[in-house]
Each structure stands twice: as C-alpha cells, then as structure tokens.
C-alpha cells in the first residue's frame, strides 16, 4: 500500500471538516464538523505509530519480546485526545443549546450581536 495514505486521509478529513464549518448554517452541524476535524488527529497519530506486522502493545497473552508491537505512546495520546474531544463537544453543545434559547436561532449567520 502507498506509504502515506493514512496521513493523506487525516489531511482530507481536516480540510473537509473546515469546509463544513465555513459553510455551516446550523451550529449543531458546526459542532459535528469539529468532531470530524478531531477524528483526523486520531488517524494521524495512530498512523504515525503503526508498525507493519506488529501486534497490539498488550502482553497479557503474548510473551514480551516474542513479536514486535506497534507504538503504544501514540495510542495513549489518542486515548487522551478522545476524552478531550468528547468533553469539548459536550461544552459546545451546552453553549449551543442556551444560545438557541436566547437568540431564537442556531444559524450562525443570524447572530449579529457582535461585530465591528
């Protein structure tokens, strides 16, 4: 397989999410696009840590040293990243919900309170 396909996939996911956010007419949709942007970081991280022919870095079944393993560090980073993403999404949705109550809309283009 091509040597950098996963990296390209990550880049595409980021750009397409950016596109979604630029054109979004609904803040809930914007938050969903942000979740896609974040998914790109998981793909990039795990892609950087993959090792052809390696197994998961868990030694409960395999004896240590018997087989090469993939990079455990990026997995730990991605795990942290997943938690961060979920919490930020929750906060953003909470803000969106309250915004809807006060502005009567979730269309970013109808929010005109702050400008200049």
């Amino acid at each position: 397989m091509n040597g950098f396909l996963p990296f390209l996939a990550a880049g595409w996911m980021l750009l397409v999410a950016l596109y979604g956010m630029v054109t979004s007419r609904n803040l809930v949709h914007t938050v969903g696009c942000l979740a896609v942007a974040q998914s790109s970081t998981y793909v990039m991280l795990l892609g950087a840590g993959y090792r052809r022919g390696g197994t998961a870095p868990v030694f409960s079944d395999t004896a240590p040293g018997s087989r090469p393993v993939v990079d455990p560090v990026v997995q730990a980073l991605a795990l942290t990243d997943v938690v961060v993403g979920a919490t930020v999404t929750a906060l953003l949705l909470a803000l969106t919900l309250q915004l809807r109550k006060r502005h009567g809309t979730v269309d970013p283009q109808a929010l005109t309170g702050l400008k200049g």
């Binding site: 979004s24 950087a48 560090v73 980073l77 930020v88 803000l95 702050l114 400008k115 200049g116």
Partner: protein, 604 residues
C-alpha cells in the same frame, strides 16, 4: 523545599482546590467558598515565589514519575516561564479577591463552581507555562480552554456571552486540533515529545517541508491563543462579553501565554539545524507582529464598547510582544517579558475598573456613559493612570519593557521603534479618550453612527442583582493594587536584572537540553544589564504625550468632513471583516495557515 517538588505543586494545588470547592462548595456559605478559593490562589502564588527563589536565575526541573526525559514528562522552570506562571497566579488571586463581593454567583447547587473553574483555569496556565513536553502542553492548553469557554458563557440569561463563548470555543478547539496534527507529524519525524529532545533529533535531518508544515500547524493553536492577525477574530467577541473577572485573566495573561508558547516551541525545537531557519522566523514573525499591532490599534481607536476597546488594545500589544520575541535576541525576550508583566497588571486593572462602570451604570458604552460617571472621581483617576500606563509612561513596567524591546528592535530595523511608540500611543489615547468622556463629560456628546458595523455596549446584563448597594471596596482596591504592581515591575530593583538573565536562559538551547537530560549546564554568558536609559525614558514620555494629545484632539476637535470620509472608507471594510461569524473566522484561520506555510517555504 526543593524546586523539583515545587514545580508540580504549582499545578496540583489549584487542581486540588478546585476539586475541594466543587465537592464542599454547596455546603459552605459564600464566605467559606471565598476563603477556600483565596487560600488556594494564595498558596499557588507562594509556591511560585518560592520556586523562583529556589531556582534563582537558573533552571529548575522536575522529572514527573521519576522517569527520565525520553520516557516521562519533565517540567522546566526558567525565570521567564516561572515568571509568567507567577503573573498568572497573581492575577488569579487578584481576580478571586475582586469577585468576593462582586459576583452574583448562582447559589445552591452551583455554589463554588465559579471559583473552581477559575482555579482550573489557573492550573491550565501554570501547567502550560512550566511544561517541557509538547503533548503535555496541548493537554494544558485544552484545560485552559475548557475552563475559559465555560467561564465566558457564564451569563446564560444574556445572548451575547453565549455567542462570544461559542465562537471562542470553536475557533480555539479547531486550532488545537491543527496543532495536534502538527505534533503527530513532528512525532513521526523525530520520535520524541520532549521539546528539547525533539529539537536535538531534528538536528540529524535536513529540515524541509515536513518540519516547516509541522511548525506552522503546531503554531496555529498558539497564534490563535495569542490572537495574532488573521487568527485574532475570536478575541474581541469573547473579551467583550465575558464576565469582567474572566476578562482580567484572559487579557492579562492567557493571550500572552500564546506568544510565550510560540517562542518556547521555536527556541527549544525548531531554532537549531534541521529546523526553521532563524532569518525566516525573524522576517515572518516581525511582519505578523507589526500587522497585528497596527490592525489592533486602528480597531481599538474605533471602538465605543469599552471592553471591546480594551480587547483590541490587547491585540495590538500582542503584536508588539510578537515583534519583540521575533528579534530572536536575549534583549528582545527580556524586554517582552517585562512588557508582558507590566501590561498584564495594567490591563487587568483597566478591565477591573470597567467592571465598576458596569456595576454602577449597567453599561460599558463610551457614548451612553458620557459624563455620567463624574461622581466616581477615584475610579476616573485610576482609569486615566491605567491609560497612561498602557501608553508606556515611565516608570511603569510597560514603559521599561517597551524601552528595552524598542532598543533591541531598533538595532535590527531602525523603523521598528516608531511602531512601538505609535501603537502604544494610540491604544493609550483610546483609553484616555474614553476616560475623559465618561468621567469628565469632556467634549460634545458623540453622535451614534447607526450605519457603521459596531457593537455599542449598551444594554449589558449587570453582573450583580442588587444595584442599589454600595460599591464593593474590593473592586477599586484590587484595580489600584494592580496598577501599583505594574509600577513596581518598572521600578523594583533586581527584577529587570533577573529577567535579563531569564532572557539569556530562554534563548540558550543547549542549556535547556542539558537541564532536561540532567547533564551539567554550561555556564551562562555574562548577561547584559537592562535598565532605564535616557532614550528609553524619552520615547516613553513621547508616546505618553502623544496619547494625551490624541485623546484631547478626539474629544475636543471636530475632524474636517473630507478627512473623516477618507478614514471611514479605509476603516469600515476592516471593521466589516470582524463580522462575528464563525464561518468567516474559520476561513481566515485557513488563510493564515496557508500564508504561513507559503511564507516559510519562500524564505527557506
């Protein structure tokens, strides 16, 4: 206590305080919450003061978990990093004291949540300032962000805070994910997460596109946090609407942490062979800094919403900080560090005083408040003093920092000091103009301009619910003390010398690497002594005088119609760009990343 124990304590203490407040806050009376929060913030300040004392002008490290740098996470405190953490801690303490009697906190189930979030914010800032690890910096960046987003949207009854907080959160999180992509790229290249070790590892390669792109992506989040043009759009929207105590923190130190992060990452990782060449960094970031300073100053001058005015003045000062750092000299770093310290205190004081206006009159509109605050004489005087401090009047810390940075900039490009003088004069003048109108009722009442895109600052939700009570004494007192601190930064003997050593340490890659890996640090070269010089004082007085003149002219004189029309046709398009629209801001962020990539590729 040992410095290696104090380092993690600076993060752990506020975290513990926040958890305690969240658990027992609802059972405590209001006073109990305040005492607990103040004690925690005070303990953090003590911790950082001790750390600076123990570390002296050298570097202190803490290997967390007892692991070496290539396996675990290392915290590193040098005078600049620890000093910035101390500034954050001092401002947090000030903010907590400021909001003792001020803040109408939701009672019952949510008592204690506001100070708990402030303490989490503090932990994020100290952690970010002290960490020596790239991914760890991302984590603390997000911690800072999470607390700040929630705090910005605190007034759920009002419509604008929610809008500002959402914009802030979306743009900042997006930028953080860009950075994480960059971190992953750098990790793929170097196999390191420690800043110094990643830098060492880069030296074995040839640099090139992956390193440039990784640097630009990693900088994205930092530049967004620092509100550098064109990544700055979220800042006025968030700062104009956040509760005043939160603004004090965000403008005073959070934004500056972005500049610090950029400089730290560049010096430790990318400044060496195989990284991003220094001449490219110097050119690109000086350009960014100057553009940011000018845009911020122009926008600041045209605001009538007082908090938004202060927010734009923060942007323009950030431009000056970026310019100072971009010189890549110890003197530039030292000057910027002094400037940041002096500016942080002065800006927090100004926001605090604006909070007094909001508390008394329920408005932060320069036009609407015309002459209404004549009774608040002391507040008015403090406000004017804050404006002068912002303009760089000696002997304020802003003046000293500006003088040192100007001199360092002037040795590279002779025209740069003019930018420093102009920008500080314009931002100071905008504050003085507002002070003259609001507290003195000077000049004719300005006419509203209904056709211009602007945020007025009228009809703000008051932050307290009993407007008839007396003004809490803590509000003006804290602001006055902060102004005094700003003065102390400029006059305290030894501080400039210590930060001078700090500048040398900050720009010393090999020393940082040695400290992290636990090998002997090379001795420091003799650091230059930075103190007040004749030309520095003269330029400081010049910008302060210029600020007074500009303010007087704006209040008293009526500009000829032709001149106003020309100015309006130049400025209105710029103001229209600040549309409050998330989609626009995301597009500008992409443009910024593209422009940075292209600039670095062109200058390689």
């Amino acid at each position: 206590m040992q410095a290696s124990a104090l380092l993690p304590l600076a993060v752990a203490v506020p975290l513990l305080g926040a958890a305690l407040l969240a658990v027992i806050g609802r059972r405590l009376p209001r006073v109990g919450c305040d005492v607990l929060a103040t004690a925690t913030a005070g303990a953090t300040v003590c911790c950082l003061v001790l750390l600076l004392g123990a570390g002296g002008t050298g570097r202190a490290t803490a290997h967390l978990g007892g692991w070496p740098a290539d396996i675990g996470i290392v915290l590193v405190a040098d005078p600049v990093g620890a000093g910035l953490a101390l500034l954050a801690a001092v401002l947090v303490l000030a903010v907590i004291v400021y909001s003792w009697r001020y803040f109408d906190e939701p009672s019952g189930q949510h008592a204690g949540v506001f100070p708990a979030l402030i303490l989490l914010f503090e932990a994020g800032m100290t952690g970010f300032a002290l960490t020596g690890d790239l991914f760890n910096a991302f984590v603390f960046f997000e911690l800072m962000g999470t607390a700040a987003y929630a705090l910005t949207g605190h007034h759920v009854e009002d419509r604008r805070p929610l809008h500002g907080a959402l914009t802030f959160a979306i743009v900042n999180s997006l930028a953080a994910y860009c950075s994480l992509l960059g971190i992953a790229m750098l990790y793929a290249r170097t196999g390191q997460l420690n800043l110094a070790l990643a830098g060492r590892s880069l030296a074995t390669g040839h640099g090139g596109v992956p390193v440039t792109v990784a640097f630009v992506l990693i900088s994205t989040a930092l530049l967004v946090k620092a509100a550098v043009v064109p990544f700055h759009f979220w800042l006025p929207d968030a700062h104009a609407v956040a509760p005043t105590p939160v603004c004090m923190l965000m403008s005073g130190v959070m934004v500056e942490l972005g500049v610090y992060g950029t400089a730290r990452v560049y010096w430790t990782v990318f400044a060496g062979p195989g990284g991003v060449p220094p001449h490219a960094f110097r050119t690109v970031f000086t350009a960014l800094g100057v553009i940011t300073a000018l845009v911020g100053a122009v926008m600041c001058w045209h605001q009538r919403h007082l908090k938004r005015l202060l927010a734009f003045s923060t942007i323009s000062h950030v431009g000056l900080f970026v310019t100072g750092v971009a010189l890549l000299t110890p003197a530039g770093v030292t000057g910027t560090a002094l400037y940041v310290a002096g500016h942080g205190c002065a800006k927090a004081a100004l926001f605090g005083l604006t909070g007094v206006l909001l508390d008394r009159y329920g408005s932060v509109d320069e036009y609407g408040l015309h002459g209404r605050a004549r009774g608040l004489r002391l507040v008015g005087v403090l406000y004017a003093v804050g404006g002068l401090a912002l303009a760089g009047l000696p002997p304020f810390g802003t003046g000293l920092g500006k003088a040192v940075a100007e001199e360092a900039a002037g040795t590279w490009q002779p025209w740069l000091p003019a930018v420093f003088v102009l920008v500080s004069a314009v931002t100071g003048a905008a504050v003085l103009r507002a002070a003259a109108r609001v507290f003195l009722g000077a000049g004719p009442r300005p006419q509203p301009r209904p056709h211009e895109p602007e945020t007025t600052g009228e009809g703000e939700e008051p932050e307290i619910r009993s407007p008839r009570r007396a003004l809490p004494a803590t509000m003006p007192t804290v602001s006055a003390l902060l102004l005094l601190l700003s003065l102390l930064v400029g006059t305290a003997p030894g501080l400039a010398v210590a930060l001078g050593r700090g500048g040398e340490r900050f720009t010393d890659r090999q020393g940082y690497l040695a400290a992290v890996t636990g090998t002997a640090e090379p001795a420091l070269r003799g650091a230059a002594e930075h103190t007040w010089t004749g030309s520095g004082i003269a330029l400081g007085l010049l910008s302060a005088a210029l600020a007074c003149l500009l303010a007087a002219a704006a209040v008293r004189l009526r500009a000829p119609a032709g001149f106003s029309r020309v100015v309006a046709s130049a400025v209105t398009p710029l103001r229209r760009l600040h549309s409050g629209l998330v989609g626009d801001y995301v597009a500008w962020l992409t443009v910024g990343v593209a422009a940075l990539c292209a600039a670095f590729a062109a200058l390689r």
